[in-house]
Structures are given as structure tokens and as C-alpha cells.
Amino acid sequence: MTTPLLSLDEATIKFGGLTAVNKVSFDIERGDLFGLIGPNGAGKTTCFNLITGVYKPTSGKILFKGSEIGGTPPNRIAEKGICRTFQNIRLFPSLSVVENVMVGAFLRHKTNIFSAFLYLPGAIRETEQFRAQAMALLEVVDLADVALARAADLPYGKQRRLEIARAMATQPDLLLLDEPAAGMNPQEKEELHLVVRRIRDEFQKTVLLIEHDMRFVMGLCEKIVVLDHGEEIAAGPPEAIRNDPKVIEAYLGEAV
């Protein structure tokens, strides 16, 4: 049996008396397009924060490529190959679009800081190399034409895509997308759908995404886990989820 890429084993976190995520377990295999859904306050983003090291799990294990990562600092986790986007966009607002993506590439830097201080040829070469990579990624998310604009000046949908490009620049094995389609119009969602598929098919990334828009998730993801009040209430392929009575109950009133 191969080890899954990411595996949560009864991961739990409590804030004071509140259990935000309670014994959640699931495995993500390489190449999955995995969806994490649930009503508001179900603990989806907290789950992301556990995986990316923002929070330390109270109990339970989080294994990435077979080794424990629970409680590792976020930057170390990014180095290991997990990168994320944020629910409420967190770009570097006054940096340019291409610079935002280059920050993502930074963790692969090989030159040390002194060569940066002295602007030695190694640092110059690396800068250009990162810039070229960043431009290539901006092509993928269709932002190359605004590469020199300030990130804060981009419209909302483009900011979301820029976040994905920035995360991709870290060359992660696992990409976590936190509500990538939130606030987008149908056309932007359609474009995003294609981008995510391309990331998986062309770049061979594994994607875990949180999404509110059921139609978007059902059309995109191959496996889905449903959380409600911090507990896992269902898991399986979209068709099974769609007909699960517990899920219907949790989403009562919403079209599933």
C-alpha cells in the first residue's frame, strides 16, 4: 500500500472550551482533486490552518508524505511542499503582481543574503530566473498583461487568481485553496475551474479546496469530505455526497 500524500488521523483542535475540529480523518492521494465542504463555521478553514501550521493540533496526527507535520511552523511546512491561498485574500498589496509571485519562489533560493547585499552575479541570475518563472506562472493564470500593476489595484477575481499563482510558485506537492471562487461571477468561476484543472492535469499537483458553491465543487472535485460543527459527517465521491441524508440535513434549505 502506498502512503497517502496527506493524511489526517483524528486531528482535533480546541480553543478554550470550543472544539473547532473534532477527530477529523481523511487521506489525500497524489493527484487527487479533493473538496472540503460544509456550512459556515464547520471548521474548514481551521482544518487548513492545522495543515499549514498556523495552529498546532490539540491531539491527533497530520502526516505529510508519511511524516508528522502537526505543529511545525508555517514556513517549514511550505518548504516541505504544502502551500495555500487565503479565504480573505492576503496578497502583498503594494508589491507588483510579478513580485508577489516571486515571493512565492523565494523559498527555493540558493544564494545567501550577502550575495543579495552585494548584488553578486549569482543573486542577479537567481532574480532573473525567478522572474522568468513567475512570468510563466502568470501566463497560466492569465495575468501576464498586468504583471507590473500593483496587486492592490487588481480587480477581485484577478486577485484570487494571483493568489493561486503565488502559491504555485512555491512548487508545492499539495495546493490548498480556501474558497477560491468566493465572490466571483459565473464567467470568472468558469475560468477558475479551467485553471484548477490545468494545475492538476498539466502540473501534476494535488489540490485540496474549500468551497461554498456546491455546483463548482461537484463539477470539479473527485472526492469530497463534508464537515459540520467540526465533525466529519460524510466522505466520498460527489454523487454519494449529493444523496447523503446527513449532508442534506446540514445544508437544509440549500440546493445540493
Binding site: 514556513n75 511550505a78 502583498f92 508589491l95 512565492g104 543579495a116 543573486a123 532573473e128 502559491a167
Partner: protein, 408 residues
């Protein structure tokens, strides 16, 4: 290969310019001893540029709100002074080479202090960090004040001073500018900027926020320390009062006024703010300083308030073509000056206002304060905002995609 040629040529060019300036200034002083204070002003200007640019690295580029930069300046000064007093007599190097040793010593001592403060920055943010840096500066100052072996409140004498060290000061300033600028050109610098913009996001992108912050503090304070060491060796006397809180505030103001994060902005604001209190020194007629009457002061104050109000309103609310806007602002400023003259003449008729006079020199700090407030009201994002010089930005856009251009 081409890079190295350009690099070496630019280094040689810098050296020629710096030493040319040094010999020009020395010639000036040799001609007329009373011009010595111009040499001194040049030294201080260089030091303040270094201080502002190095604080900009901490404050503007990395976004760590530090308002105690004078403490690193002070640590460097005392380290350099102690080093000179204890080792100068037995060192085999000449007085010129010794300047490098002293600067390095000051930089190391201040760098250690920067490390200590930088470690605090990991737990504290924003205002709280600011207060801790301020407090750190005051604690160091008071400790020095109470140490007899450091001269206490009387200050520390440096027997072997070197008052021909303008060149070293200028080289330090240029080095500081070059290092900061180079850093900003590379992904390393982007990591610093990213920490300023959003710590959580940059850490999620794999940036080691801890290391970035501590590095910024160490490098920034090391430059300030080197500047302090050179100040001590130049002046031959350092007192704790030279490094009071208001020096920190002045440096901070330079950074903010130039536009946080803008290196060119810091340099220009440093030169501007440093020189404002010095202008009145040159307002001398026949050996006597200019006199200002109460009438002029009152008229100036009234016209200043009115024209600042009008300029601010024009900037905020006028949406016509840029040309008319600029013309309006120029008109308001001109009107303010004319108004001052007219109103001053009218007020001059009132004996109480006409008879009270002050030396212009007495007004220097008031000038500084007024400039600060006015500039902040009119242009709160600083002279250059986050940007560098306009033409540099244009160059950057042109250079895009062409590797290896423009090394410093």
C-alpha cells in the same frame, strides 16, 4: 564578466567622487578656518543619511515599527570610542585604516544590540514594538549616564580623534544605500517587503519571518552603529545627550517623510530635515543674525495656516487638470508669501508686535516642527510614497526582462 567591468568602474567612480569631495572640502577649510563648520555639516549630513537609510531598512522595508534608532547610534559611538581609547596607541595601522576598524567595531556592537531588540520584535507588533524600541534606547542611555568609566553625563573623550574623516562617512552612507538598494532588487529583498505587507501570508509562502526580522534589525542597527563610531572619532567627544529620544524621532521622521520603504526618499528627507535647522545659521548680515519681529511671526503664522488649509483643500478636492491644480497651488503659496509681507507691515504698526524681536537662529527648531506638520498634512504618504525616484521606476520598467543591467 560585463557585470564586473561595470561594477569595478562604478566603484572607482564612487571613490574618485568621494575623495574629490574630501579634498575640495579640505581645501575650503585650509583657505578659511571659519568654514570648518561646513565640513562638519557635510559629515553630519552623511551620518544622518546613513541613519535614515538604515532605519528605513527596519521600518520602511521590513515594516517593523522601531522608534529607538538613536540607541544603536549611541552603542556604536561608545563602542568605537572605547575601542579607540584602548587600542589606538598600540595598533600598527594608520589613522585612515583605523577608521575602518572603528566603524566595524561600532557596527558589531550595535549589531548585537540590534539582535537583542530584534528578538523582541518576534513577539510584539506595531505600537508595542515601537514602545519597546524607544524604551530600550532610554535604558541604554541612562545606563551609560551612570557609568563613570564611560564618562557619565560629562561624556567620553576620544584622545585620538580624526577630524578629516568625511570620506569615510560618505563611503559608509553610499555603502548603506547600495546594500539596501541591492537587497530590494533580489528575491531576498522581496521577502523583506513581503513581511512588511503581510506576515501570515509571507510565512505561508515559506518566508522565515523570524530570520527576516532579525536580519533587518541586525543590519539596520549595524549601519547606525558604524555611523555612531565615525561620529565619535570625528568629534572627539560623545555625551549621552547627543543620543536623546528626539534624535530617534528625527530619524524616524526622515524615513516617514521620505516615504516609508523608499530609499531615495529617505536620503532626500534626511538631507532636507537635517539642513532645515541649519539654514538660519546662514541668515547673517554684517556678523549679526537676522532679526524677526513679532509682527512678522504673527503674520507668517496666520498666512501659513490659511495657505496650508487652501493647499490641502486643492489637493483633496480639486479634480481638474493637473496643470491648473499645480498653478493653483503655486498661486496659493505665492499669495501666502505676499500676504505675509502685507500683513506683517500692517502688524508692524502695533508697537507691542514691532518691538519684540528674536534671532532667526532661535527659531530653527520651530521651523523644523512647522515643516514636519505642514508636510505631513499636505503629503501624508511621504515625499515618494513607497516608490523610488520617478526616472528610476521608468528605468525599471524598461529593464524588465533584460538580465544583468545596472549594477551598483
Amino acid at each position: 564578466m560585463k557585470i564586473w567591468v561595470v561594477r569595478i568602474l562604478s566603484i572607482i567612480g564612487t571613490l574618485v567622487a568621494v575623495f574629490g569631495f574630501e579634498f575640495f572640502m579640505r581645501g575650503l577649510v585650509a583657505q578659511d578656518q571659519s568654514l570648518d563648520y561646513i565640513y562638519r555639516l557635510a559629515v553630519l549630513a552623511g551620518l544622518f543619511v546613513t541613519l535614515a537609510v538604515s532605519l528605513n531598512l527596519i521600518n520602511g522595508i521590513t515594516g517593523q515599527f522601531s522608534i529607538g534608532h538613536a540607541s544603536f547610534y549611541m552603542v556604536g559611538a561608545y563602542a568605537g570610542a572605547t575601542l579607540t581609547n584602548s587600542l589606538y596607541k598600540i595598533q600598527p595601522l594608520g589613522p585612515e585604516t583605523w577608521l575602518f576598524v572603528v566603524a566595524l567595531g561600532g557596527a558589531v556592537a550595535a549589531g548585537i544590540a540590534g539582535l537583542i531588540v530584534g528578538l523582541h520584535s518576534l513577539r510584539l507588533k506595531g505600537d508595542y514594538l515601537a514602545i519597546v524600541t524607544l524604551g530600550f534606547g532610554e535604558i541604554i542611555r541612562i545606563i551609560v549616564f551612570n557609568q563613570p568609566f564611560l564618562g557619565g553625563s560629562f561624556g567620553l573623550n576620544i584622545a585620538d580623534k580624526n577630524d578629516k574623516s568625511l570620506w569615510a562617512v560618505l563611503l559608509l552612507a553610499i555603502l548603506c544605500i547600495a546594500v539596501c538598494r541591492n537587497l530590494c532588487q533580489t528575491p531576498h529583498g522581496l521577502a523583506f517587503l513581503a513581511v512588511r505587507e503581510d506576515e501570515v501570508a509571507s510565512s505561508a509562502m515559506g518566508v522565515n519571518v523570524t530570520r527576516v526580522k532579525v536580519t533587518a534589525f541586525i543590519v539596520g542597527s549595524a549601519f547606525a552603529g558604524a555611523a555612531g563610531a565615525l561620529l565619535g572619532v570625528y568629534d572627539g567627544l560623545i555625551t549621552p545627550d547627543t543620543f536623546r529620544m528626539d534624535v530617534s524621532f528625527l530619524i524616524l521622521t526622515m524615513v516617514v517623510l521620505g516615504g516609508t520603504g523608499s530609499i531615495t526618499g529617505s536620503v532626500i528627507a534626511a538631507l532636507l530635515l537635517f539642513s532645515i535647522p541649519e539654514w538660519p545659521r546662514f541668515m547673517v548680515e554684517g556678523g549679526k543674525p537676522w532679526q524677526v519681529t513679532g509682527a512678522t511671526l504673527l503674520a507668517g503664522a496666520i498666512c501659513l495656516i490659511v495657505s496650508v488649509y487652501l493647499v490641502k483643500r486643492t489637493i483633496d478636492e480639486y479634480h481638474g487638470p493637473q496643470r491648473t491644480k499645480t498653478l493653483r497651488i503655486v498661486g496659493i503659496v505665492g499669495g501666502g508669501i505676499i500676504g505675509t509681507v502685507l500683513l506683517g507691515t500692517v502688524f508692524g504698526l502695533i508697537p507691542v508686535l514691532a518691538n519684540r524681536t528674536w534671532d532667526v537662529g532661535a527659531l530653527r527648531m520651530v521651523f523644523l516642527a512647522v515643516t514636519l506638520i505642514v508636510l505631513m498634512l499636505i503629503r501624508p504618504q511621504g515625499i515618494f510614497g513607497h516608490e523610488e525616484f520617478g526616472w528610476q521606476k521608468a528605468m525599471k520598467a524598461l529593464r524588465f526582462g533584460k538580465p544583468g543591467a545596472n549594477p551598483t
